[in-house]
């Protein structure tokens, strides 16, 4: 081993270092690529189950419940009229509540995913730029309609709608 050919080469240590870091990078990167795919696959189902149980299902249950109640009230007030003077007004109210609840989308009321936002920031993804693009798209989309940005219901408004539906149900049922 003492007569290694590079022992005499004074420049070799520099070359060796470059070579060394090249090998290191190559294998580290290859490992990283395989690792990221495996890691992602290992966590997808867990994330899915969490999102389903902690956010999607309870929120959907809440909105759907109010919507079903409103639909029932429209049906009751349309087919079981026993007090005509009051009923047509109540029916209009129920119909309007139902229409508003029908238009609610998950994206209107979904809570923010803070971990996702935080991680996107770590990637230096230009959130600002993305947001500006979306605003621009909204404006362009709005031009075709009434000129302004489309009004979407908020979480608070949906909670308010659900309360109104419940109050109306109480009146109709206990009349």
């Amino acid at each position: 081993m003492d007569d290694s050919p590079w022992d005499d080469d004074p420049n070799y240590s520099g070359v060796q270092e470059t070579e060394w870091s090249k090998i290191s990078n190559e294998f580290t990167n290859a490992g990283y690529r395989e690792g990221i795919t495996a890691g992602k696959e290992s966590a997808l189902q867990e994330g899915f189950d969490k999102g389903f149980a902690e956010i999607g299902a309870p929120l959907g249950h809440e909105v759907g419940g109010a919507r079903g109640m409103a639909a029932a009230l429209v049906g009751i007030l349309s087919t079981r009229v026993n007090n005509p003077s009051n009923t047509s007004n109540e029916r209009e109210v129920a119909r309007s509540l139902l229409d508003q609840l029908n238009s609610v989308r998950f994206s209107d009321i979904a809570p923010r995913d803070l971990q996702a936002e935080e991680h996107a920031r770590e990637h230096n993804i230009e959130i600002e730029e993305k947001r500006k693009m979306e605003e621009l798209e909204d404006m362009m989309g709005g031009l075709g309609r009434s000129g302004g940005r489309a009004e979407r219901p908020t979480r608070e408004q949906v909670v308010g709608l659900a309360k109104q539906v419940e109050e109306l149900a109480r009146e109709v049922i206990n009349k």
């Binding site: 090998i23 795919t37 890691g39 997808l44 867990e46 999607g56 759907g64 919507r67 639909a71 998950f106």
Partner: protein, 178 residues
């Protein structure tokens, strides 16, 4: 002895680099998997339970009304409401794959029983099933197809909503930046 030790470590050095890269990648991939899975699970959970919640709110409101104001003719509607509410109560609020591997609950079958019970209730009440509920019948058909697809992977334990079948292959690596 020293020399042989050095040689030994040189042989393993490639593996060592690979392993450390793999571990870093794996940790990073998990973050992406959790985020992406969560986004899908939120949507799917909302979609399913919004529909089920609708049937539940509809049936329980009609039932309360009929119990107070109904006539003898409404007995059938009250029974239909009760059946529908019982079926909905059986529906899981969490993905059963994560808690009960031996669960043999057939979700798509339960869902279609719920949907048809809702229609039966509507016809006994003399009201029309709503547009949105009938629209989602198409989604139900698609789901059933997806379910029978997923049935091939049964050995890995029954997954009621296998997340991977939800993923378009083109989407999977979309924002996987590293």
């Amino acid at each position: 002895m020293d020399e042989s030790f050095d040689l030994e470590s040189l042989v393993h050095v490639e593996q060592t680099f690979y392993d450390s890269g793999y571990q870093d990648g794996y940790d990073h991939g998990r973050i992406h998997g959790l985020i992406e899975g969560r986004a899908l699970g939120r949507e799917k959970g909302y979609e399913m339970w919004e529909e089920l919640g609708f049937y539940e709110g509809f049936a329980s409101t009609w039932k309360s009304f009929l119990l107070q104001h109904g006539t003898g003719d409404d007995e059938r509607s009250i029974n239909n409401s009760n059946r529908l509410l019982e079926l909905i109560a059986q529906f899981p609020r969490i993905n059963p794959s994560s808690t009960d591997k031996s669960s043999d609950l057939d979700i798509s079958q339960l869902l279609s029983r719920i949907r048809s019970r809702y229609k039966v209730l509507c016809s006994s009440l003399g009201v029309r099933p709503t547009l949105r509920a009938s629209l989602s019948d198409q989604a139900a058909d698609n789901e059933e197809m997806a379910d029978s697809d997923g049935g091939r992977g049964k050995e890995s334990g029954p997954r009621v909503w296998p997340v991977l079948s939800q993923l378009d292959p083109s989407v999977t690596n979309q924002d996987l930046s590293y």
